[in-house]
């Protein structure tokens, strides 16, 4: 057995993928992280208190995990869903009652979407109240705000796609809110709907926004966001509290 493992891991093929050895040394541990595309999100070494659950609640990571679930289930739903009138509603019902595992995927997509909005807002609240948005992380906060916008817009555009009464009237109310914006309001509504009432053009526009443009925006933003976390010095740690001695000195 040991010989077999040794022979397999000794092949040129294996060595072309994994370039580090097995011995439990600091060098191999470091190589395992920074020669691996997926692991290099983290630095080779992080402070234990920086990755403590209490510090961040892992809310950013959980938001990203939700987005990954949404991406996978969303792509699967696209195999059955046609963004046209009246097929959209029928396809949604087919997914619920006819397609194998359809109801599971649809509900997973739905609940992950709800969870993602909640987690993103909680992540922002933690970042804000911990003061982690302050320099040098101020630009990453701005990227985060745009990611939150993308999340909310994805949630909103996805709401129309079932093409049921709830969807129809929710988007009626939503686009009328957009119309209430000064000066640009009426044009904004026209561009969103591709018409004056919610109809086939609006469904198609919301579909393209939901499945192509907004996910692209979010993926791009997420890459920069995670990259900046490392470039700005890793997860925020509050400066050490002034020691008792210094306090006495000042007093």
């Amino acid at each position: 057995m040991r010989d077999l493992v040794k022979r397999l891991t000794g092949t040129a093929f294996y060595r072309s993928i994994f370039r580090h050895g097995f011995a439990d040394t600091n060098r191999n541990r470091s190589l395992a992280v920074f020669t691996n595309f997926f692991l290099h999100i983290h630095a080779v070494k992080v402070r234990r208190r920086a990755i403590a659950f209490r510090r961040t609640g892992y809310l950013g990571g959980l938001s990203a995990a939700c987005f990954f679930i949404l991406l996978v289930t969303g792509i699967l739903l696209m195999f059955y869903y046609r963004p046209s009138v009246p097929e959209a509603y029928h396809d949604m019902k087919d997914l619920q009652f006819v397609v194998s595992a359809g109801v599971f995927l649809r509900n997973l997509h739905r609940w992950s979407a709800h969870a993602m909005v909640a987690l993103v807002l909680a992540h922002m609240a933690v970042t804000f109240f911990r003061g982690a948005y302050r320099p040098p992380r101020e630009f990453n906060w701005v990227i985060g705000v745009f990611l939150m916008l993308a999340t909310v817009l994805l949630s909103y555009t996805g709401y129309l796609l079932p093409w049921d009464q709830l969807a129809y009237w929710a988007v009626t109310v939503g686009t009328n809110m957009a119309e209430a914006a000064p000066i640009v309001g009426a044009k904004l509504k026209l561009l969103l709907l591709g018409g004056h009432t919610i109809n086939a053009a609006a469904l198609l526009r919301f579909y393209v926004l939901h499945c192509v443009l907004l996910p692209f925006w979010l993926v791009l933003g997420l890459c920069v966001h995670i990259w900046r976390v490392r470039k700005d010095g890793g997860i925020y740690l509050p400066p050490p509290a002034p020691s008792a001695a210094t306090d006495e000195d000042q007093a």
């Binding site: 009237w169 009626t172 109310v173 009328n176 809110m177 591709g194 018409g195 004056h196």
Partner: protein
């Protein structure tokens, strides 16, 4: 021997002038292309043809509508009222708050919106709720004996249509 690159060799006045001109030309071309793309892009997203229903709706012959009656046309999003004296008026049934479809409640002769609780009188006046304006009163006309309501033309509140 030190490396001789273009940064360390001084530029002549002529070369500097040429560089400024080309920079200006390049920036100008980029600006023009950017503005053009923005305008064309905006025009692309604004449809030129709307495949929508006609705003003008024929609702029937006036002599077939009894005085003192209310016609509820949910698919056309209209209420057509004929007063006891025989005059007509037409109201849009779209709530002026956020665009939901209102419902006529015959028991107390009022119009109610299910979304945020706005209430209107049968004349279209707001009686309760967040609606900022009365229901839109629409222009009516008579063509070849058929009453027509034009949902794209609003007329002042209180104006009535009389068939002569």
């Amino acid at each position: 021997m030190p490396l001789d690159d273009d940064l360390s060799s001084p530029l002549s006045e002529e070369e500097l002038a040429r560089r400024r001109t080309l920079t200006l030309l390049g920036a100008g071309a980029l600006t023009a292309a950017g503005l053009g793309t923005a305008v064309v892009g905006y025009r692309f997203f604004e449809p030129n043809v709307f495949y929508e229903e006609d705003a003008r709706v024929g609702i029937g012959r006036p002599e077939e509508i009894a005085p003192g009656s209310v016609m509820v046309l949910p698919k056309k999003r209209l209420y057509v009222v004929r007063n006891a004296d025989g005059s007509f008026y037409a109201l849009s049934s779209i709530c002026t708050h956020l665009g939901c479809m209102t419902r006529y409640v015959p028991e107390n002769a009022q119009v109610a919106c299910p979304c945020h609780g706005s209430r209107f009188s049968l004349e279209g006046k707001v009686t309760a709720g967040p609606a900022p304006r009365p229901l839109r009163r629409l222009k009516m006309s008579l063509e070849r004996g058929i009453l027509i309501v034009d949902a794209s033309q609003e007329i002042p509140a209180g104006q009535l249509f009389k068939v002569t």
